[in-house]
């Protein structure tokens, strides 16, 4: 997947985790937690979803990379480059 496809995957996971949030105005450079109500359990859900869908293993000490959309996409791009887009 390319970075744009990865962004879409993360966005879809967020939509499932927080169905009441409007994500159309999401600022990719600002931490998710400053823009929506996300707690540590929600980040765990993102990790579990990524593992389930793409078998990507994210160690606990690297959860920090998921803090903004930009940093999440940067972190996931090399790890998901050979995965195929769900679309």
């Amino acid at each position: 997947m390319n970075p744009e496809e990865i962004r879409q995957v993360v966005l879809e996971i967020l939509e499932r985790i927080a169905p009441d949030e409007d994500l159309s105005e999401l600022d990719d450079s600002v931490p998710f937690r400053d823009q929506m109500e996300l707690d540590s359990m929600d980040f765990l859900d993102i990790v579990m979803e990524l593992r389930k869908q793409y078998r990507v293993q994210i160690p606990e000490e690297e959860y920090g990379h998921l803090v903004t959309m930009d940093s999440a996409v940067d972190y996931l791009t090399p790890r998901l480059k050979d995965a195929s887009s769900p679309a």
Partner: protein, 475 residues
């Protein structure tokens, strides 16, 4: 021939979950949804662990621990269970305190506690704000030396009335004391006393039935009356199976929702762990147990609203020894009105008190029976202050003690709130000792209560999934 509760069970599963408390059921659900084969084993004849209920003559249904849990339960049930379950979670209307120092009612929200602390207790608004912010910013890797007592002393020196207001509900919910680390208080307080307190409309029986149906939809093999005797571990310290009701069943991982100490010392066995780990495991302190008194009114007879939860005490100041003593001076009443189970015509009250196992374990059968009767009698006298015509309406009264909790949950010493803080580190370190052996349940205070148990079940299910999922393909 006795019934085979494992009839048609397979010879092996990916995961065996021991115990069907909220942590065990949630783990089982997450792992089954992730595609693993899961066997859930419960020794009792019904699921739920401490999230349980029982039925008595005239169709009375008593809930053990339904009132109440934090708002976060709605989100967790929606994510890890079903929309249907989340949609039945409703706020309680009012929480009351009655003691020699104050008498008040609160909605259990940050706004309301702020108002009460400023208006009724005369605390400076900045102090209240700072206290809430401090509690909210606490993390579980923070300084563990500071005690809850010291935290209160810092913000509200000499104010045992404020301590009582802020502490009594937490002690009721998880058995913690002023000597527990301040950070455990901060984390639980921020979850619990910010956005109100909630309950499940329809009762614990409906909740557990809906959970069971969801587990079955996801393919979990559920078995009641199945007592795990042994967790089978190979010489190279890997989980290979369990022995349950005398039968061996193979598995790649065990998720134990049994008491942490029972998991290590009774089911796994000391020989599979490092000496240092065993030392830490032995040193884990259990939280206290409880006594409860269950009172049902005659069908159709009831009382006016007098709060959903009522923290009653005749003792001055917050004193954990007084709370644990058999010479009871503090009781928490949970009032269950007909709307708990829409369509019902029943009013019920459950009185809870914290209790020490040792006070009850050593009694002779005769003394035990008498002590239970005395507990019922003193509870009724106390409750009459709030429900004057109580005696005319009573249809059924009975008591449970730490011995009852031990019998039904098999927890060491009937612990009704899991372990103290140090239990969390041991629980988390278990898979480093034995590959494939996991534990989730009430540990470390912050992982206790209904929400703590559900969320810890998810956290550990994630660790199990990490172990079992095949290596990343093509990376």
């Amino acid at each position: 021939m006795p019934k085979d509760f494992l009839k048609n069970a397979r010879d092996s599963y990916d995961v065996v979950v021991i115990g069907s408390g909220l942590a065990g059921m949630t783990s089982a659900n997450i792992l089954a949804r992730a595609g693993y084969s899961v066997l859930l084993l419960e020794h009792h004849y019904q699921l739920g662990g401490m999230a349980t209920w029982f039925k008595r003559q005239n169709g009375h249904i008593f809930d053990i621990s339904l009132h109440g849990f934090p708002a976060g339960m709605i989100k967790s049930c929606r994510k890890y269970w079903t929309r249907e379950i989340a949609d039945s979670i409703v706020p309680l209307r009012g929480v009351r305190f009655e003691n020699p120092q104050f008498s008040l009612e609160t909605t259990f929200t940050r706004e309301d506690f702020t108002r009460i602390l400023i208006e009724e207790f005369g605390i400076a608004p900045e102090t209240v704000q700072r206290f809430f912010d401090t509690a909210r910013s606490m993390n579980f890797f923070d300084d563990q030396q500071k005690t809850t007592r010291e935290l209160f002393e810092e913000f509200f020196p000499g104010r045992d009335d404020v301590v009582r207001l802020l502490m009594e509900p937490i002690t009721y919910a998880n058995g913690s004391t002023l000597e527990d680390p301040a950070l455990t208080y901060g984390i639980v307080f921020s979850n619990f006393m910010q956005k109100g307190v909630y309950t499940f409309q329809g009762g614990t029986d409906l909740l557990v039935r809906q959970m069971r149906e969801e587990l079955e939809r996801n393919g979990v093999d559920l078995r009641i009356r199945c007592l795990v005797e042994q967790i089978e571990i190979s010489p190279d310290r890997r989980v290979t199976g369990v022995v349950v009701n005398g039968r061996r069943i193979g598995c790649r991982a065990v998720m134990s929702n049994a008491n942490l100490k029972s998991t290590i010392f009774r089911m796994a066995g000391e020989e599979h762990f490092d000496a240092k780990f065993l030392e830490e495991a032995r040193a884990i302190r259990l939280n206290n147990s409880s006594c409860q008194v269950y009172l049902a009114m005659k069908p159709g007879m009831g009382f006016d609203f007098c709060g959903d939860l009522l923290f009653h005490s005749e003792h001055r100041g917050f004193d954990i020894d007084a709370m644990l003593s058999r010479n009871i001076s503090s009781r928490t009443f949970s009032f269950y009105y007909p709307e708990t189970r829409p369509g019902s015509d029943r009013w019920l009250v459950v009185s809870s008190t914290n209790a020490s196992y040792d006070d009850w374990a050593s009694l002779s059968e005769e003394e035990y029976k008498r002590s239970k009767e005395e507990l019922c009698r003193s509870t009724i006298s106390c409750l009459e202050q709030y429900i004057p015509n109580l005696r005319d309406m009573l249809d059924h009264v009975e008591a449970s003690t730490p011995r009852t909790f031990e019998h039904y949950t098999r927890h060491w010493q009937g612990a009704s709130f899991g372990t103290k803080f140090e239990g969390l580190a041991v629980s988390k370190a278990l898979p480093e000792q034995v590959s494939g052996l996991f534990h989730a349940g009430s540990v470390g205070i912050i992982m206790s209560g209904w929400l703590g148990a559900v969320n810890y079940g998810v956290i550990v299910a994630n660790d199990v999934d990490k172990l079992l999922s095949p290596a990343a393909a093509g990376v």
